[in-house]
Subunit: 524 residues, 2 copies
């Protein structure tokens, strides 16, 4: 028999999360097995809610803030509705690491009192519940980031005075904006996988199909928002960790360039690795909600509190110019030019993704916009550099944190096993290779101004978020559709297009681009 | 007898630089020994020049551009005057690595022809000669960066097709602005010292006192501009390499934050080390000339051509707000608040520096501005982190480049001898330590808003550039007055205040803060 001293710790923590759910919000009836009832969104979850709770929770973040900042809806009513729905969501798909509904409702009461007294909101997110990936420290709440060894500690440090006291900079700013914090969402241990699995909450399944993954590493966010247990939240992304959960759950998610949303004081994997920086961004059900959350945070001038944030406010002039351009394109649609990247040249996407791209392409063509061919510098180079960066420390950081409790991670968790650490000079060499690739890509992007007919380079490039829709557990084999954008440090947004449909999306025999391409094809 | 196979190579290269000076511009009379004539600025260099050449070369870059962009002065006349004076400067203090006067005069002719035809300048630097530190690649010209092993190669690579063909991004942009490039200035081999010495040009002395150093690593720029052989040029700074030569030569020099002036395609030491980034900035005789050069480069939108440059144009609104603030302070001087940092707490400055600080403090007080005490986080921490970063690769990069020709560097050149390379995880740890220090310093800076009475934190902190004025060779023992700003990545400007005066600046006996403090005191 194997000794697993960490198991009772993990079990106790898992139980304590469930115990934090008030009994009135516990699902009393047996929850059907995932094979029996795959989809728990819509009608299934609604049956545990009142019509008013459904009304509140099915509005998007933008719509809710519109009502809570004007006093139309009270912060308490909205908060209670989301706490209830988040509690249900967790019972259905294991998407929460931390539950602090009481503190949230207290906070909402203070917000309502403030509004009653001052006849104005605390800030643009007054009364809006916002969920957080379990990398952010919140007072009185633990951060495990999926590591058993972090239970009862501050990032694995025992007796650290910051434990349950310290708050991450983004948390401070969200409070200043009037947001209500009420839960932290699940992540894979190490954060370095496209699924969400750890020894505490086990596996976060996809609410639309519980046999599949909710994505990762912000998979708890993806699942919770898809179940409308949160109107919007913040995830992080170093290789696709915002965009994959957004895509797998039919949500919008933005990975901004580095230096916009403050990472200061948040937990991380391989903290200080600065060849490819993990960045924070919002996920939500609508694009306007992403804008609300992003703009609100910039309004807090995070560059005064986080040395890595750029002094770059929300630039309304760029927004206006872009809106003007879109309006003009209604008259002359050829004034907008796009490129469609159908594959990375390393691995082709599955049929549902190819079909989604065709939908976008046909729509853009039908509207009369210009579409140019996209022949960028080889993506295999991006894949190789990103892969090298992710394994640069030979797994030392994640091995250390897994080792704190002696836990064994799930097989999805990628461990650079036995690789030597890179030296400082090798790290510098990787940074040069990255910069040279960025320069090549930048020059290529600029060169498209010759092809668009608009006088500008392409206005956007459309590409898959992943080679597949939500995957079967342990089958996320290729992150090259997202990680090249982390390497380039370009802003990228996941936009939902359609759903997989096995009656339409039939695989045709074809030649393979690579080993991973063949593996992906066979995995369909 | 020691075998020095690199010596003939270095000698030939040194001679070829002198040979590039047209015979009409060679100093025919014997140049007095440095002990005999320390100061070669002013009357001494002027005697080789015509009154018209003196008129042109003694105007600042801003004034010259004002005349060359309006057609008042021809680019050819201005270029020839500076070529002549730069040729003299090099013969007096060894400040040039590359001379390409013919190409410059040809370029000036084309600029004059353009102006004659279009009645307008090519750009804001039309006809302005600009000198460049020998890290920038210019077509038809070599880049040695002070390494004998780079002679006849591209950054040490033999038969590289880029050799004498490739141009650095800043060079491309300066040409686009109408600047005339005519020479590249001396640097210490490795760039990692506050003096300028290498096996090719030997030692760049200080034009005001040729027994002393011109500073480093942009020491050739400092010496050339001090002799008015250039109206302004671009240096680089990773620990003080723009500010020290500016200070030692009575010039203005700005070290901007990283990501402003494009480094793309320039040679560097430890390229890809991105814990503390080397940055490019201008040096010139007047503050308005720095602004001209800086603003002109940003006008080229370098962020479209260098992936590490931020999309951050010259922000006129900040300039206007600042000017307005200064105007208002004429009425109510307490509306501007400064701090004076008298020492780093690790090593005190020499008497001339302390006196210069007193001049500034007394002037600010006399004008009625607010002065607060400056008690920042310990600078010893900054010194230690910066020192660790500079030696992170255990000297592997510089040893490699010195080894190409088997050359032995001057003793000033700091070689992390026998130190092991840091691992990727250690590099990450250093990056975390740096970020934590930046956060502490940022919080401290913000906290001064409580003390200034202006509602803002201090408007500026005044501190020495070095613990000493221009040093005796091999006595630059402490870079902590500049390197902490590289670690923090704050914008900093060297501003000339006064000159050392041994009749006034007398050292008093005192206790010592540290070993380096004692060494510095005894070195005075």
């Amino acid at each position: 028999m194997t000794v697993t001293p960490w198991k009772p710790l993990a079990d106790t923590k898992r139980q304590s999360i469930l115990d934090a759910i008030p009994s009135k919000w516990r699902i009393q009836e047996p929850i059907p097995a995932d094979t029996e009832l795959r989809n728990v969104t819509g009608a299934y979850i609604q049956k545990f809610l009142t019509p008013r709770e459904i009304e509140i929770t099915e509005l998007d973040a933008y719509g809710i803030a519109d009502r809570t900042t004007t006093g139309e809806w009270s912060a308490v009513e909205v908060t209670e509705a989301f706490c209830h729905r988040a509690a249900l969501a967790h019972q259905l798909v294991n998407c929460l690491h931390e539950i602090f509904f009481d503190a949230a409702i207290d906070n909402a009461k203070r917000l309502d009192a403030y509004f009653a007294e001052h006849k104005k909101p605390v800030g643009p997110l007054h009364g809006l519940p916002v969920s957080l990936k379990d990398q952010f420290h919140v007072k009185d709440v633990e951060t495990t980031m999926g590591y058993v060894g972090w239970i009862g500690t501050f990032q694995g440090l025992k007796d650290d005075p910051r434990n349950r006291v310290f708050e991450s900079e983004l948390v401070r700013e969200l409070r200043g904006l009037g947001a209500v914090l009420y839960c932290k969402t699940s992540v894979p241990a190490t954060l370095m996988t496209g699924e969400t699995v750890n020894n505490i909450i086990t596996y976060t399944t996809n609410p639309k199909n519980r046999l599949l993954s909710s994505g990762g590493s912000s998979g708890g966010e993806g699942a919770l928002i898809a179940l409308k247990g949160s109107p919007g939240g913040f995830g992080t992304d170093i290789g696709g960790s915002i965009r994959a959960p957004a895509a797998f759950n039919g949500l919008y998610g933005i990975r901004p360039s580095s230096g916009r949303i403050p990472y200061e004081g948040a937990a991380n994997s391989m903290d200080g690795q600065n060849s490819i920086l993990s960045v924070i961004g919002p996920l939500a059900g609508t694009a306007r909600s992403l804008q609300l959350l992003f703009k609100a945070v910039l309004g807090q001038q995070p560059w005064l509190y986080d040395p890595l944030v750029l002094e770059l406010p929300w630039r309304s002039e760029i927004e206006l110019d872009t809106r003007r351009l879109v309006e003009q394109s209604a008259k002359d649609p050829s004034k907008l030019a796009f490129a469609i990247m159908k594959d990375t040249g390393v691995a082709k996407p599955h049929p549902p993704i190819t079909r989604a791209l065709q939908i976008v392409e046909q729509t853009l063509k039908r509207l009369g916009h210009t579409i140019i061919e996209w022949t960028p510098p080889p993506h295999i180079t991006a894949d190789e550099i990103a892969g090298t960066v992710y394994g640069m420390d030979g797994g030392a950081d994640v091995q250390y944190h897994l080792g704190l409790a002696g836990e064994k991670p799930a097989p999805q968790v990628i461990l650079p096993a036995g690789l030597p650490q890179k030296t400082a000079q090798e790290v510098a060499g990787i940074n040069v290779a990255k910069r040279e690739y960025q320069k090549q890509y930048m020059d290529y992007w600029n060169s498209t101004a010759q092809l668009t007919g608009t006088g500008r380079p392409v206005d956007a490039v459309v590409c898959p978020v992943a080679p597949h829709a939500a995957v079967i557990p342990n089958r996320y084999d290729y992150v090259g559709y997202t990680s090249f954008l982390n390497l380039l440090d370009y802003t990228s947004v996941a936009i939902p297009v359609t759903h997989a449909d096995k009656s339409v999306d039939v695989a045709q025999p074809r030649d393979f681009l690579s080993e991973v391409d063949e593996k992906l094809y066979n995995g369909y």
